[in-house]
Symmetry: C2
Amino acid sequence: MRALSLEKNLQYQANHPDPRPGEGECLVRVRMAGICSTDLQLVLGYMQFRGILGHEFVGVVESGSANWLGKRVVCEINCVCRHCDMCLSGLANHCRKRTVLGIAGRDGCFADLVCVPEANLHEVPDVLTDEQAVFVEPVAAAYQTLSQYPFVAKTKATVVGSGRLGLLVTQVLAETGCKLTVVGRNAAKLLLAEKRGVQSVHVDDLICRADHDVVVDCTGSPEGFDLATRLVRPRGSIVLKSTFAGERGVNLAAVVVNEISVLGSRCGSFSDAIHALVREAVEVRPMITQTVPFDQAMDAMTAASQPKHLKILLDMRK
Amino acid sequence: MRALSLEKNLQYQANHPDPRPGEGECLVRVRMAGICSTDLQLVLGYMQFRGILGHEFVGVVESGSANWLGKRVVCEINCVCRHCDMCLSGLANHCRKRTVLGIAGRDGCFADLVCVPEANLHEVPDVLTDEQAVFVEPVAAAYQTLSQYPFVAKTKATVVGSGRLGLLVTQVLAETGCKLTVVGRNAAKLLLAEKRGVQSVHVDDLICRADHDVVVDCTGSPEGFDLATRLVRPRGSIVLKSTFAGERGVNLAAVVVNEISVLGSRCGSFSDAIHALVREAVEVRPMITQTVPFDQAMDAMTAASQPKHLKILLDMRK
């Protein structure tokens, strides 16, 4: 099969061996996959991952349990043991022995075929296109923000970062009716937020008054975190959705002095995400800036790091 | 009067002009003051503070409101406006216009005389010695930890850092009955915790299993924060009591991946602290490693940065 694999370097392989599903796993033929900032960070050394990249996809079950054969599916990325203290306490996404699709200890979905635990599958409603279904994983990550902070109508909230994840988080928060602003650098991306009825501000025009109840940092940069500490009010919260490779750190003095709560936030509910896409609470199609045949995946990875791009989809059907 | 002042450098001044109390302020004759890690950080450039250092003290009111004349007092360090959004929302310690005794915009207590708002004063019960009363401010800071995390008997908690603040936080947490460990480098300091019935571990003997519900970081170093992220369980909390000068930052990747809550924590309730000292829930006398006449304050500041020392008190009566 074809695969985009990270060894010493990133490689497109035309003849990667087909994977074989283990016990409780299905083999899924990938139809489309999305490139995420985490994929770019992995290439830069984050997590020291080696193997096939990719964790956002939609596909069709090709072998495995009869219940799932032929179904169009998306897949939760944390593959868990169900027996450790985390799994038994209801925090399976933090399983001590987990592997994570295309991120830690398990090949991902930038390939024609991928093996995944049957328990991780969600059937995709017919009303969703493949292009929409690819977004279930990042929309779920955006929904996790809601489970970590009680957004209400009077909440003064800002999303920092108008990239792939930032625009999804923005749409998810907009539905809560909170007083929402999104901050970014790219006028075209900010316009997408404005079209969803969310006020946007270019970072150069921003005045930091330390008066926001909660700031969601989706920038993936120390500078974004620093900006968040200047926007949030004393005793306010920063929901941190960014991970980044490298040694550059952040200064936490403001967190102590202003008694800010920094809430790390990762994966979320696939069910919430699927429902949001079905009822069009989250509109993802304007975020797709390119869809490329899979054999152009190397170029697509390069393009995905350019500021002009939002989501780039890899089409395995081509 | 005599004063220890931070200008370009730290200076002991034998003839500093006496301060004059403003409206609503009292003039307090300082009896004893304590050197805190924050004082050492200020000398290193933290907050770009200029003026008389010091914020932990006990003294006697020499002029001002008749209600307070002659009373032995301790003093809250945040001097606030009572009119801004923070003051009006009950978060006066985060007043937008605050000055902070010996830390920001206001001369501190390393001097014979200090001016402080009358509203900030607390009378010291006779049962407390001057040596104990000096600790009210840092004990209050330790108590703030309890207001930010719900410690109960089954809570698995660790204090990282067995220094001045770490040993106070350790004693405050011990009273909750939680499963408590303190981690440090200095055997003599860890022994003080053991004498209060708290299990201690030398950092070199520590095995990080990411299984603690909450870790309180009192180290004032990026390394301490890094250790806290490895001790705390997924979805656990780090209470961050450390501020430090300089550009060295921390890596927040583990905070995101493990969805850790980082809770900045600063000043706390003086009433709680006074009551704790009165009932000897917190025993501070063994933490005093030196008491020096005030004219040796420069040497005392140097000594305070040495690992062998815990609290060094400046005695203004000598």
